[in-house]
């Protein structure tokens, strides 16, 4: 009995966010009649994909010891690129171009951080402004409207009943998981975030890893931008204001440490779902959107506060 209890406690500690997620789903299923409808569930899955996909790349970046605050503008620029091109070159090329652009802008971030030795936090604060300016200038401050039905289906459609963006999210996480745990690159990412100087001496190619990881964030964000553009059938500079904070919140709530070196992709996946569920729950319960701000903030703080308290008071026993 003792073993079972301590085993459960360990699982709860390591998979906190997943457990909370499951509990939340159960509570919602039991207490809200509209939660369990396929419409609603699909909506949740669809909605969580945008932050979720961005969070996959961001997880690796945070584990490697850096931040990217420019993703909101980066997403906007790539969405605009796809939206503008799709009319001329078709869906496939437009999407690929957007992803390449994402990789490129991400690499610029990476180069500024590793070549110019500018701290990631502030470097991407700067590029956030620059990319936002590019978005405005490119669209001449007007909204780009997209009508290509295949493209719209990427964001708004479903395959076999599952929203397409969510399928993309699963695919993204599988790829990222593989990169993180099964490749030398992933090992280098974790080493860099844990002890950069020791990694240098061990021969880890720091600059390459850094640029590659920023590029990965760029690609993930670009994908999210393409899908979002498809969903809302339009693109402009402010489509994703606050995106960077939502993505980082999902990663952090998922259990990845801001210090780097350790991280969990499953946690970020659950974190993205979690925030979307909270927002959905508040909607279903008729909580006004203003209160949603308050609740989301409280949830974020509590999620980490509980972890902090646990480490503070229970470390002796666990």
């Amino acid at each position: 009995m003792e073993r079972v209890r301590s085993g459960l406690a360990t699982i709860a500690a390591r998979y906190t966010i997943e457990v909370v997620l499951v509990v939340l789903v159960i509570v919602l299923l039991l207490t809200s009649s509209s939660f369990g409808t396929s419409d609603n569930l699909n909506g949740v899955l669809r909605q969580s994909a945008f932050v979720g996909i961005g969070a996959a790349g961001m997880t690796l970046l945070i584990v490697s010891g850096a931040f990217d605050l420019s993703v909101a503008s980066l997403l906007a620029v790539c969405g605009i690129a796809a939206g503008k091109l799709v009319g001329d070159v078709g869906v496939v090329i437009a999407v690929v171009a957007a992803l390449l652009l994402g990789a490129g802008l991400g690499s610029v971030n990476g180069l500024i951080v590793s070549r110019l030795r500018v701290p990631a936090f502030v470097a991407t604060l700067g590029t956030q402004y620059v990319y936002l300016a590019i978005a405005y200038i490119w669209t001449n401050n007007q909204v780009v409207v997209v009508s290509n039905t295949t493209f719209l289906a990427l964001g708004a459609g479903s395959i076999a009943g599952i929203p397409t963006p969510f399928l993309f999210m699963i695919g993204t996480y599988l790829v990222c998981w593989y990169l993180f745990w099964r490749t030398r690159y992933g090992r280098h990412v974790r080493a860099m975030g844990s002890n950069e100087q020791a990694s240098l001496i061990a021969g880890v190619p720091l600059e390459r890893v850094r640029v590659a990881t920023f590029a990965l964030v760029g690609v993930c964000t670009a994908l999210a931008g393409v899908l979002l553009t498809g969903l809302v059938s339009s693109a402009d500079g402010t489509v994703a204001t606050g995106y960077e904070l939502n993505v980082i919140a999902a990663v952090v709530v998922g259990g990845t440490s801001l210090n780097g070196g350790r991280g969990t992709l499953a946690g970020s996946f659950a974190g993205a779902l979690f925030f979307t569920l909270v927002s959905n729950a508040l909607n279903l319960y008729g909580v006004g959107s203003y209160w949603q701000y308050v609740v989301t903030g409280l949830v974020l703080v509590s999620a980490l506060g509980v972890e902090g308290l646990r480490r503070r008071f229970w470390l002796e026993t666990i």
């Binding site: 490749t183 974790r190 080493a191 002890n195 020791a198 990694s199 001496i201 021969g203 070196g261 350790r262």
Partner: protein, 519 residues
């Protein structure tokens, strides 16, 4: 002369961390005008005991009396108010603040309106520094001072509260012999002024120079407390280890002339650090590099590895020119560096033992450069583990759970897994206790026998005499002498390191040897 009543008396101190008992009922007392040394292997409990006395840990059991008054274990502030000052191993200086701000940190003098009184601060700081024989500008930025000076500023900081007890934890770890002498004088002067000094060190020579009494801890237990005059070094070591120290079974030998020189360094210079250094190391040979702190030997190692860029001279590995501008160049040429500070520059704390070991290993021919090959790694891990005698329960264990000696062996394993043939090792037994040291020496000899060229840079002359075949001695950036197998003993190494080049100006330091000189 020690007074009758101790100024500090601790009884029955017990401290547990999780399941581990760090202290099992230790008694300790200290008199005024006394230096009481605390010795023991790593993990014996020395750090824990002083952290308890300094108020950083609360013990599970035990009592404390300061100046005959019973005291409760409060925090660091309470300890300081009771008159216990501490100079810890980790520096507690704030690098960006000035010396004066550091020395008086926490109790800065104030003018009306709660504003800081800078003139008074500068004056008090200068006074305290003068007592230690220093003339440092109180407005200098603390981070810009040499390590030795920072140490003395730390002491000034501890003294600024006028303690009756001063705890010093490994104060000479980063000092050269001249600076050690200066520190020993300072401690002696403090003792004469009535302060009781608790002196923790690994260096037994200092113990016998300074201490009035010696307490030995082993495995959290107090093994002995005795007058320093009543014991000698060998007995002390026996008390510390619980057994006699067996000598390392090794004779320095001349490696056969026809073995190729794997590493050839010619007139290598790095302006400001070392100049015109030349030497060769053959496969199968262990070359030592001796020298005081500041002799340039650590910079030499780092330059060979690509962390620093030489301004002149050449280096060759296996007859191919080596111009390493980055560690990756050096590793590609088969050169591996084990840096001095394994915590800062060696281990990756969030990775497992296996991942640390294989971090540098490049993919073999035919292997994918992308994917990790888990089963191949596991097999190779077992081989390396038995070769180096690494003690770890599982390769997936987080590396911080290993002891210092085993961590160092994992880093040597990293060298093996990377197929490096030239191994540059800086202070390979730093922070490794006596028992594990001989393990490491054995491992080094095995690696050399396995056809590697091993270079060991160390401040421990005894260690060099035991593990090397030849020894290059550096002083003030120049290569001063090469000692062959026949001349390879501790005294010769130290003498050469201190004496320096014959054409240098006379150095006004006396030779410090860890043994009593005949009168």
């Amino acid at each position: 002369m020690p007074d009758q009543q101790p100024i500090l008396a601790a009884h029955g101190i017990v401290k547990r961390f999780g399941g581990v008992q760090a202290l099992r009922g230790v008694d300790f007392d200290l008199h005024a005008s006394e230096v009481h040394a605390l010795v023991g292997e790593n993990g014996a409990g020395k750090s824990t005991l002083i952290r308890v006395l300094a108020g950083l840990h609360r013990p599970d059991e035990g009592t404390l009396e300061v100046n005959s008054r019973s005291m409760r274990f409060g925090g660091p502030l309470a300890a300081r108010r009771a008159g216990i000052g501490t100079v810890a191993q980790e520096f507690t200086l704030v690098p960006k603040l000035s010396v004066a701000e550091n020395v008086l940190l926490g109790h800065e003098p104030r003018r009306p309106w709660r504003l800081l009184d800078w003139p008074v601060m500068r004056r008090r700081t200068s006074e305290l520094l003068e007592q230690l024989g220093l003339e440092i500008d109180p407005q200098a930025r603390a981070g810009s001072l040499s390590i030795a000076d920072q140490q003395l500023v730390e002491i000034a900081k501890a003294l600024s509260l006028e303690p009756s007890v001063l705890i010093m934890d490994e104060p000479t770890a980063a000092l050269n012999p001249a600076e050690v002498d200066r520190l020993i004088d300072v401690v002696g002067a403090l003792r004469d002024r009535g302060v009781g000094v608790l002196y923790v060190t690994h260096r037994l020579g200092e113990v016998f120079r300074l201490a009035d009494r010696i307490t030995v801890l082993r495995d959290g237990e107090q093994v002995a407390t005795q007058a320093a005059a009543a014991i000698d070094e060998d007995e002390l070591i026996t008390q510390m280890l619980g057994r006699e120290l067996t000598a390392v079974d090794h004779e320095p030998q001349e490696v056969a002339e026809d073995r190729q020189a794997l590493l050839r360094v010619s007139e290598l210079s790095l302006e400001g650090d070392f100049s015109q250094v030349s030497f060769e190391v053959r496969a199968g040979e262990v070359l030592g590099i001796a020298g005081l702190v500041g002799s340039g030997r650590s910079e030499l190692m780092r330059a060979l590895f690509g962390l620093l860029h030489p301004t002149a001279g050449t280096a060759e590995v296996d007859a191919t020119s080596l111009t390493a501008t980055h560690p990756r160049d050096a590793l590609a040429a088969g050169v591996f560096l084990l840096a001095e500070d394994r915590k800062a520059e060696g281990l990756i704390p969030d990775l497992s033992v296996r991942e640390n070991l294989f971090l540098t290993a490049a993919p073999d021919d035919g292997e994918s450069p992308w994917l990790l090959r888990r089963s191949a790694e596991t097999k190779e891990y077992e081989q390396v583990k038995s070769f180096l005698d690494i003690r770890a329960d599982s390769p997936e264990q987080p590396i911080p759970t290993l002891s210092g000696g085993n961590q160092q062996k994992v880093l040597l394993g990293r060298a093996m897994a990377s197929h490096a043939r030239v191994l540059l090792l800086s202070e390979p037994t730093r922070g490794v206790d006596v028992g594990a040291k001989s393990d490491i020496y054995r491992a080094l000899r095995k690696l050399a026998a396995d056809d590697a060229a091993v270079v060991v840079s160390s401040s421990d002359a005894l260690e060099l005499s035991q593990v090397c075949d030849r020894c290059l001695v550096m002083s003030k950036g120049r290569a001063v002498r090469v000692l062959g197998p026949a001349e390879l003993d501790e005294d010769s190494i130290v003498a050469a390191a201190v004496r320096g080049r014959d054409d240098d100006e006379a150095v006004d330091e006396h030779v410090d040897v860890d043994k009593e000189q005949p009168a």
